[in-house]
Protein backbone atom coordinates (compact mmCIF):
# COMPACT_ATOMS: atom_id res chain seq x y z
CA UNK A 1 0.00 0.00 0.00
CA UNK A 2 1.38 3.37 -0.92
CA UNK A 3 1.32 6.33 1.40
CA UNK A 4 -1.58 8.73 1.24
CA UNK A 5 -1.51 11.54 -1.29
CA UNK A 6 -4.78 13.38 -1.41
CA UNK A 7 -5.93 16.39 -3.33
CA UNK A 8 -7.27 18.05 -0.21
CA UNK A 9 -3.88 17.83 1.49
CA UNK A 10 -2.19 19.22 -1.62
CA UNK A 11 -4.73 22.03 -1.72
CA UNK A 12 -4.14 22.86 1.95
CA UNK A 13 -0.39 22.94 1.38
CA UNK A 14 -0.92 25.32 -1.51
CA UNK A 15 -3.18 27.73 0.33
CA UNK A 16 -1.25 27.47 3.58
CA UNK A 17 2.12 27.89 1.91
CA UNK A 18 0.93 30.81 -0.22
CA UNK A 19 -0.55 32.69 2.73
CA UNK A 20 2.45 31.91 4.93
CA UNK A 21 5.03 33.21 2.50
CA UNK A 22 2.93 36.17 1.50
CA UNK A 23 2.75 37.17 5.17
CA UNK A 24 6.51 36.75 5.42
CA UNK A 25 6.87 39.01 2.39
CA UNK A 26 4.63 41.60 4.01
CA UNK A 27 6.70 41.42 7.21
CA UNK A 28 9.95 41.91 5.32
CA UNK A 29 8.35 44.73 3.33
CA UNK A 30 7.33 46.38 6.57
CA UNK A 31 10.90 46.19 7.87
CA UNK A 32 12.24 47.45 4.54
CA UNK A 33 10.02 50.52 4.64
CA UNK A 34 11.22 51.10 8.18
CA UNK A 35 14.89 50.83 7.20
CA UNK A 36 14.77 52.75 3.92
CA UNK A 37 15.27 56.25 5.38
CA UNK A 38 18.84 55.25 6.24
CA UNK A 39 19.60 54.20 2.68
CA UNK A 40 17.40 55.89 0.10
CA UNK A 41 18.79 59.44 0.32
CA UNK A 42 15.31 60.85 0.91
CA UNK A 43 16.70 63.90 2.70
CA UNK A 44 17.86 65.14 -0.70
CA UNK A 45 14.55 64.55 -2.41
CA UNK A 46 13.99 68.17 -3.37
CA UNK A 47 11.32 69.73 -5.58
CA UNK A 48 13.84 69.85 -8.36
CA UNK A 49 14.59 66.12 -8.01
CA UNK A 50 10.89 65.33 -8.15
CA UNK A 51 10.58 67.39 -11.35
CA UNK A 52 13.68 65.67 -12.67
CA UNK A 53 12.16 62.25 -12.08
CA UNK A 54 9.10 63.38 -13.99
CA UNK A 55 11.28 64.39 -16.93
CA UNK A 56 13.14 61.10 -16.67
CA UNK A 57 9.82 59.26 -16.95
CA UNK A 58 8.12 61.33 -19.62
CA UNK A 59 11.15 61.11 -21.93
CA UNK A 60 11.16 57.32 -21.45
CA UNK A 61 14.86 57.28 -20.61
CA UNK A 62 14.42 53.75 -19.25
CA UNK A 63 13.64 52.63 -22.81
CA UNK A 64 17.37 52.70 -23.66
CA UNK A 65 19.27 53.19 -20.39
CA UNK A 66 19.44 51.32 -17.13
CA UNK A 67 19.02 53.00 -13.75
CA UNK A 68 20.57 50.97 -10.94
CA UNK A 69 20.79 48.15 -13.45
CA UNK A 70 17.11 48.13 -14.35
CA UNK A 71 15.80 49.13 -17.73
CA UNK A 72 17.01 48.54 -21.28
CA UNK A 73 20.59 47.52 -22.01
CA UNK A 74 21.03 49.61 -25.14
CA UNK A 75 22.71 52.62 -23.57
CA UNK A 76 24.89 53.27 -20.51
CA UNK A 77 23.90 52.88 -16.87
CA UNK A 78 22.79 56.23 -15.47
CA UNK A 79 22.40 55.45 -11.76
CA UNK A 80 26.00 56.53 -11.26
CA UNK A 81 26.46 58.80 -14.30
CA UNK A 82 26.61 61.85 -12.05
CA UNK A 83 29.72 60.46 -10.41
CA UNK A 84 31.15 59.22 -13.70
CA UNK A 85 30.68 62.38 -15.76
CA UNK A 86 29.62 65.26 -13.56
CA UNK A 87 26.82 67.79 -14.07
CA UNK A 88 28.29 69.95 -16.83
CA UNK A 89 29.09 66.99 -19.06
CA UNK A 90 25.60 65.50 -18.62
CA UNK A 91 23.91 68.76 -19.63
CA UNK A 92 26.16 69.27 -22.63
CA UNK A 93 25.66 65.69 -23.69
CA UNK A 94 21.84 65.87 -23.56
CA UNK A 95 21.91 69.11 -25.55
CA UNK A 96 24.31 67.74 -28.14
CA UNK A 97 22.11 64.83 -29.17
CA UNK A 98 21.66 63.28 -31.62
CA UNK A 99 25.29 63.02 -32.62
CA UNK A 100 24.39 62.05 -36.17
CA UNK A 101 27.50 59.90 -36.50
CA UNK A 102 26.65 57.32 -39.18
CA UNK A 103 26.11 53.82 -37.80
CA UNK A 104 26.28 54.94 -34.17
CA UNK A 105 23.43 54.53 -31.69
CA UNK A 106 21.44 57.75 -31.54
CA UNK A 107 19.74 59.51 -28.68
CA UNK A 108 16.88 61.89 -29.51
CA UNK A 109 17.03 65.58 -28.64
CA UNK A 110 14.36 66.40 -26.09
CA UNK A 111 14.64 70.20 -26.32
CA UNK A 112 14.97 70.60 -22.57
CA UNK A 113 15.33 74.13 -21.23
CA UNK A 114 17.95 75.16 -18.70
CA UNK A 115 15.77 74.48 -15.67
CA UNK A 116 14.72 71.08 -16.98
CA UNK A 117 18.37 70.21 -17.53
CA UNK A 118 19.15 71.20 -13.95
CA UNK A 119 16.23 69.12 -12.72
CA UNK A 120 17.34 65.99 -14.52
CA UNK A 121 20.90 66.49 -13.30
CA UNK A 122 19.62 66.88 -9.74
CA UNK A 123 17.59 63.71 -10.14
CA UNK A 124 20.67 61.83 -11.31
CA UNK A 125 22.69 63.27 -8.45
CA UNK A 126 20.07 62.15 -5.93
CA UNK A 127 19.99 58.69 -7.52
CA UNK A 128 23.75 58.35 -7.43
CA UNK A 129 23.72 58.92 -3.67
CA UNK A 130 21.33 56.09 -2.84
CA UNK A 131 23.06 53.30 -0.91
CA UNK A 132 23.10 50.47 -3.47
CA UNK A 133 25.30 48.02 -1.54
CA UNK A 134 28.36 49.05 -3.60
CA UNK A 135 26.78 48.29 -6.97
CA UNK A 136 27.89 48.83 -9.76
CA UNK A 137 31.23 47.02 -9.54
CA UNK A 138 33.07 50.01 -11.01
CA UNK A 139 32.43 53.50 -12.27
CA UNK A 140 31.66 52.33 -15.83
CA UNK A 141 28.36 50.91 -14.53
Amino acid sequence: MSSAFTKSAARNIFYGGAVFFFLLLVALTFDTMHTLPKRDNRENLTESVVRGKHIWETRNCIGCHTLMGEGAYFAPELGNVYKRRGPAFIKAWIQGQPSGTPGRRQMPNFNLNEQQLDDIVNFLKYTSEVNTSKWPPNIEG
Binding site: S2, S3, T6, A9, G16, D31, K38
Partner: protein, 197 residues
Protein backbone atom coordinates in the same frame (compact mmCIF):
# COMPACT_ATOMS: atom_id res chain seq x y z
CA UNK B 1 1.97 2.40 -11.45
CA UNK B 2 0.78 5.79 -10.34
CA UNK B 3 2.91 8.80 -9.66
CA UNK B 4 2.60 8.80 -5.90
CA UNK B 5 3.93 5.27 -5.92
CA UNK B 6 6.77 5.97 -8.27
CA UNK B 7 8.07 8.57 -5.85
CA UNK B 8 7.68 6.72 -2.58
CA UNK B 9 8.57 3.23 -3.86
CA UNK B 10 6.97 1.08 -1.23
CA UNK B 11 8.34 -2.39 -0.72
CA UNK B 12 6.15 -5.08 0.76
CA UNK B 13 7.19 -5.14 4.40
CA UNK B 14 8.36 -1.53 4.69
CA UNK B 15 6.11 0.83 6.59
CA UNK B 16 4.40 3.62 4.77
CA UNK B 17 5.28 7.27 5.14
CA UNK B 18 3.44 8.81 8.10
CA UNK B 19 1.03 11.47 6.91
CA UNK B 20 0.21 12.81 3.49
CA UNK B 21 2.79 12.91 0.71
CA UNK B 22 1.86 16.52 -0.10
CA UNK B 23 2.95 17.53 3.40
CA UNK B 24 6.25 15.77 2.89
CA UNK B 25 6.94 17.85 -0.20
CA UNK B 26 6.33 20.90 1.94
CA UNK B 27 8.55 19.56 4.74
CA UNK B 28 11.38 18.86 2.31
CA UNK B 29 11.11 22.36 0.86
CA UNK B 30 11.23 23.82 4.36
CA UNK B 31 14.20 21.69 5.38
CA UNK B 32 15.97 22.78 2.22
CA UNK B 33 15.39 26.46 2.98
CA UNK B 34 16.46 26.13 6.61
CA UNK B 35 19.45 23.99 5.65
CA UNK B 36 20.69 26.59 3.20
CA UNK B 37 20.19 29.35 5.76
CA UNK B 38 22.10 27.38 8.41
CA UNK B 39 25.02 26.85 6.08
CA UNK B 40 24.87 30.47 4.99
CA UNK B 41 25.20 31.42 8.65
CA UNK B 42 28.10 29.03 9.24
CA UNK B 43 30.04 30.18 6.20
CA UNK B 44 29.21 33.88 6.56
CA UNK B 45 30.63 33.52 10.06
CA UNK B 46 33.97 32.25 8.75
CA UNK B 47 34.53 35.64 7.16
CA UNK B 48 33.69 37.58 10.29
CA UNK B 49 34.38 35.45 13.34
CA UNK B 50 35.03 38.27 15.82
CA UNK B 51 31.80 40.04 14.95
CA UNK B 52 29.78 36.85 15.26
CA UNK B 53 31.40 35.82 18.53
CA UNK B 54 31.01 39.26 20.05
CA UNK B 55 27.39 39.65 18.95
CA UNK B 56 26.53 36.16 20.14
CA UNK B 57 27.44 37.18 23.70
CA UNK B 58 24.42 39.51 23.67
CA UNK B 59 22.02 36.60 23.23
CA UNK B 60 19.97 35.23 26.06
CA UNK B 61 21.07 31.59 26.13
CA UNK B 62 18.70 30.71 28.91
CA UNK B 63 15.61 31.68 26.97
CA UNK B 64 16.97 29.72 24.00
CA UNK B 65 17.39 26.67 26.23
CA UNK B 66 13.93 27.06 27.75
CA UNK B 67 12.50 27.21 24.26
CA UNK B 68 14.33 24.04 23.30
CA UNK B 69 12.80 22.27 26.27
CA UNK B 70 9.36 23.63 25.35
CA UNK B 71 9.53 22.52 21.73
CA UNK B 72 10.99 19.09 22.47
CA UNK B 73 8.31 18.50 25.07
CA UNK B 74 5.54 19.64 22.78
CA UNK B 75 6.90 17.28 20.12
CA UNK B 76 6.71 14.51 22.68
CA UNK B 77 3.11 15.44 23.44
CA UNK B 78 2.33 15.15 19.76
CA UNK B 79 3.83 11.65 19.76
CA UNK B 80 1.46 10.81 22.60
CA UNK B 81 -1.44 12.28 20.65
CA UNK B 82 -0.68 10.08 17.63
CA UNK B 83 -0.41 7.08 19.93
CA UNK B 84 -3.85 7.83 21.37
CA UNK B 85 -5.55 8.05 18.02
CA UNK B 86 -3.94 4.77 16.98
CA UNK B 87 -5.91 3.25 19.79
CA UNK B 88 -9.01 5.11 18.72
CA UNK B 89 -8.98 7.52 21.66
CA UNK B 90 -9.94 10.68 19.83
CA UNK B 91 -10.63 12.88 22.87
CA UNK B 92 -7.33 11.96 24.50
CA UNK B 93 -5.61 12.68 21.17
CA UNK B 94 -7.15 16.13 21.13
CA UNK B 95 -6.07 16.73 24.71
CA UNK B 96 -2.46 15.91 23.98
CA UNK B 97 -2.56 18.11 20.93
CA UNK B 98 -3.91 20.99 22.99
CA UNK B 99 -1.12 20.46 25.49
CA UNK B 100 1.41 20.55 22.66
CA UNK B 101 -0.12 23.77 21.39
CA UNK B 102 0.07 25.26 24.87
CA UNK B 103 3.81 24.61 24.93
CA UNK B 104 4.05 26.06 21.43
CA UNK B 105 2.30 29.14 22.75
CA UNK B 106 4.76 29.34 25.63
CA UNK B 107 7.59 29.13 23.10
CA UNK B 108 6.12 32.13 21.29
CA UNK B 109 5.85 34.14 24.49
CA UNK B 110 9.47 33.45 25.47
CA UNK B 111 10.57 34.32 21.96
CA UNK B 112 8.61 37.56 21.93
CA UNK B 113 10.15 38.63 25.24
CA UNK B 114 13.58 37.81 23.84
CA UNK B 115 12.94 39.78 20.64
CA UNK B 116 11.39 42.72 22.50
CA UNK B 117 14.55 42.90 24.53
CA UNK B 118 16.64 43.10 21.37
CA UNK B 119 14.41 45.71 19.74
CA UNK B 120 14.65 47.81 22.86
CA UNK B 121 18.41 47.65 22.57
CA UNK B 122 17.98 49.07 19.06
CA UNK B 123 18.95 45.86 17.31
CA UNK B 124 17.37 45.19 13.92
CA UNK B 125 17.84 43.06 10.82
CA UNK B 126 20.22 45.66 9.49
CA UNK B 127 22.43 45.93 12.60
CA UNK B 128 24.97 43.43 11.33
CA UNK B 129 25.18 40.06 9.60
CA UNK B 130 24.99 38.09 12.83
CA UNK B 131 21.81 39.81 13.95
CA UNK B 132 20.39 39.53 10.44
CA UNK B 133 20.61 35.74 10.83
CA UNK B 134 19.58 35.70 14.47
CA UNK B 135 16.48 37.83 13.96
CA UNK B 136 15.72 36.65 10.44
CA UNK B 137 16.01 32.93 11.13
CA UNK B 138 14.40 33.37 14.53
CA UNK B 139 11.41 35.18 13.06
CA UNK B 140 11.15 32.76 10.15
CA UNK B 141 11.10 29.87 12.62
CA UNK B 142 8.67 31.79 14.84
CA UNK B 143 6.25 31.94 11.91
CA UNK B 144 6.64 28.20 11.49
CA UNK B 145 5.66 27.64 15.09
CA UNK B 146 2.57 29.76 14.51
CA UNK B 147 1.70 27.82 11.35
CA UNK B 148 2.35 24.54 13.18
CA UNK B 149 -0.03 25.59 15.93
CA UNK B 150 -2.69 26.44 13.36
CA UNK B 151 -2.25 22.99 11.82
CA UNK B 152 -2.32 21.24 15.21
CA UNK B 153 -5.38 23.26 16.15
CA UNK B 154 -7.22 22.18 13.01
CA UNK B 155 -6.24 18.56 13.64
CA UNK B 156 -7.24 18.75 17.31
CA UNK B 157 -10.60 20.22 16.39
CA UNK B 158 -11.28 17.50 13.88
CA UNK B 159 -10.13 14.83 16.34
CA UNK B 160 -12.42 16.28 19.00
CA UNK B 161 -15.34 16.10 16.61
CA UNK B 162 -14.57 12.47 15.94
CA UNK B 163 -13.10 12.99 12.48
CA UNK B 164 -10.31 10.46 13.02
CA UNK B 165 -10.29 6.83 14.05
CA UNK B 166 -7.85 4.04 14.78
CA UNK B 167 -8.19 2.96 11.17
CA UNK B 168 -8.06 6.38 9.54
CA UNK B 169 -5.87 9.04 11.08
CA UNK B 170 -3.56 10.12 8.28
CA UNK B 171 -4.49 13.71 9.02
CA UNK B 172 -3.12 13.46 12.57
CA UNK B 173 0.14 12.05 11.27
CA UNK B 174 0.33 14.79 8.63
CA UNK B 175 0.04 17.51 11.25
CA UNK B 176 2.40 15.67 13.60
CA UNK B 177 5.07 15.35 10.90
CA UNK B 178 4.99 19.09 10.31
CA UNK B 179 5.28 19.85 14.01
CA UNK B 180 8.25 17.49 14.40
CA UNK B 181 9.91 19.26 11.47
CA UNK B 182 9.52 22.59 13.30
CA UNK B 183 11.10 20.94 16.34
CA UNK B 184 13.89 19.36 14.31
CA UNK B 185 14.83 22.68 12.76
CA UNK B 186 14.99 24.31 16.17
CA UNK B 187 17.17 21.48 17.49
CA UNK B 188 19.79 22.51 14.93
CA UNK B 189 19.13 26.24 15.11
CA UNK B 190 19.61 26.52 18.87
CA UNK B 191 23.17 25.14 19.14
CA UNK B 192 24.17 26.79 15.87
CA UNK B 193 23.23 30.34 16.78
CA UNK B 194 23.19 30.34 20.59
CA UNK B 195 25.92 27.90 21.56
CA UNK B 196 28.61 27.23 18.97
CA UNK B 197 31.41 29.75 18.75
Amino acid sequence: MNVSMSLSLPHGNRRELPGDLAMWFFILAELLVFGIFFLAYAFARTRNVELFNASQLELDKLSGAINTVLLISSSYFVVRAVDKIRHGLARACAHWLLAAMALGGAFLVVKLVEFADKFEAGISLSTNTFFMFYLGLGFFHFMHVVLGMVILGAVALKAWKGGYSAADHVGVETGASYWHMVDLVWIVLFPLIYVLR
